[in-house]
Symmetry: C2
Subunit: 341 residues, 2 copies
């Protein structure tokens, strides 16, 4: 799928801002952070495999879309990206994940204790990144307000992460509790990205609240799409997914739906399989057959599409001119693996 | 030793402010945080074993000492205390410590993954705590400035923690590198406490910088005293210390000094013992004899006293009236286990 122009357009200045926040410190704590961001290899040598920077791109697009000057929102976009990455560093420890974006995770290379530190330091840098708005002439009152929002979103993120880990220990999580979890864990930071861009670009409250809602619904759709990819997605070489999230016994939406809709014998099978510490190919096959029989893939796709549709209605409500609206639609479609007209 | 009146004086309002920041949320993530702060047992039932609140007490005293209204500094004092406690929750995971203040650590009860979350959430709450200054009429420009300082101190804390963990893997850490580590890990947050109180109470830059320096030197002295207590301190029942930090093979100041001053045979003994995974009583005895022969206890006491003396000179320079100066002296002496005249 073609990467929307917006990603390319903002990339140089976004990367420059991120690099300015991380500074020139050559100590290992900073190498760990640069490694996680995909800028260097584990020895600190230059390498390029950075993330997509979806959240900051949405932030800058929102600022432009409401008539603001997007460069003035760079510090805010950067802060959101650093919050996202602090949570990934800690998430990888919590999930005991060995790889992220085809490279060993930070804790796998430097150990858990130092990876906790690297995540903490990145959280601190996110706070400091936001204060660079002062240098771009944003008034202190606005900075305090944005920092409150950033930290409220971060608190939601911690609460969502708490639930996510807690749910691993239980079967039969209700769909409502699952949706509450992803709203906190994923949607709140998406909302924050759009809020930052909008608030820095306009005083029009209808536009701000419509774009916040767009961000929240897009975040929900994005997480459900992620869940689908975790089972039926292809890897980067275009090969079939090894059903990673089934093997990891993740309580993602299709599985939650299947547990709800399964008959007694299927539910017993799922309970037995999810009670094991490792899954055989036969187990994975059985889970997939139950997901198929209960229509769980179609259900997740429908839910994703509903959130996506709502997000497009939010955009409509924001009353943007057609060009910036199209750019936001394009990024949303890209994040959800959809083609846009 | 008698607890100075200042601790008692500020306690009710400090606790009320802390409780207001944590809110009424009854979810387990918040119970973990209240447990760590010593307010509840692991089931969330009321219990009282809170910490001394030394840092916030110093903050409020500083505010009063320069002629400010101490209640207006309560949100800042609370923010510092929460930063301190976030670092303790993560520190206990990193050090694999089973106990803190005679109770199981957060990770020991709830597991590492959720303890990482609880620490993260407490860090977020520290940020939000500071913004409560707005409700007490502190202008946004000042809040942004204080938040910058809080996060600079937190970054130093992460850097110091990085060094502390890194040094565990090495012998022959120089005294300079050790002092750099404790300056970042301990002294910077002490400095921040005093800075906050002073800045919220006066515009007099001499008073602010003198009190910052007082905080930094006091923090250094406090950490060296902690190191001494880790070897020769008595436990809460007044019994001899079980030489915890020797058994934990901690690279604390007396050990670093001993490694530097030891003769070849003693150094070989220390290297052998510190290369083991557990220490016998005989090993501990050998280490203590080498510490004794190299005068390492006296050396650490001298260094502590030098920092203490410098901190008292800083107080002198601040030109405070005699009553608030005496209160600060009293708290400093208490933290260092000294009697004050």
């Amino acid at each position: 799928m073609r990467i929307p122009d917006s990603f390319r357009l903002f990339l140089p200045e976004l990367e420059a801002e991120l690099r300015a926040v991380l500074g020139e410190d050559a100590s290992p704590l900073y190498i760990m952070m640069r490694y996680h961001l995909g800028w260097v290899d584990e020895n600190g040598r230059r390498q390029q495999s950075p993330g997509k920077l979806s959240r900051p791109t949405l932030c800058l697009l929102a600022c432009e879309a409401v008539g603001g000057q997007w460069p003035s929102a760079l510090p805010a976009a950067t802060a959101v990206e650093l919050i996202h990455n602090f949570s990934l560093i800690h998430d990888d420890i919590q999930d005991a994940s060995w790889e992220r974006r085809n490279r060993p995770t930070v804790w796998k290379l430097w150990g858990e204790a130092q990876a906790i530190n690297a995540g903490d330091a990145m959280y601190v840098l996110a706070q400091l990144a936001l204060f660079r708005l002062e240098d771009r002439g944003v008034p202190p009152q606005m900075i305090v307000l944005l920092s409150r929002h950033l930290n409220q979103a971060s608190l939601q993120l911690c609460e969502g992460q708490y639930l996510d880990i807690e749910y691993e220990r239980h079967l039969d999580i209700s769909a409502d509790r699952y949706l509450e979890m992803i709203e906190k864990k994923t949607a709140s930071l998406f909302e924050c990205s759009l809020r930052f861009g909008a608030m820095l670009g306009t005083k029009n409250q209808v536009q701000v609240s419509s774009l916040c809602s767009f961000g929240r619904n897009l975040g929900m759709a994005y997480q459900v799409e992620n869940d689908l990819q975790g089972i039926w997605g292809k890897d980067e070489d275009g090969k079939e997914s090894p059903y990673t999230d089934i093997r990891g016994r993740k309580k993602i939406l299709p599985v939650i739906h299947a547990l709800d809709k399964a008959d007694d014998s299927e539910r017993e099978t799922l309970h037995r399989i999810y009670g094991q510490s490792t899954l055989s190919n036969g187990d994975v096959g059985q889970v997939l057959r139950i997901l198929d029989r209960t229509g769980s893939k179609a259900h997740a796709e429908k839910l994703r599409d509903q959130y996506y549709q709502q997000s497009l209605e939010d955009l409509e409500r924001a009353g943007l001119s057609s060009s910036p609206r199209h750019a936001l639609e394009e990024v949303a479609a890209f994040l959800l693996g959809q083609e846009v007209g």
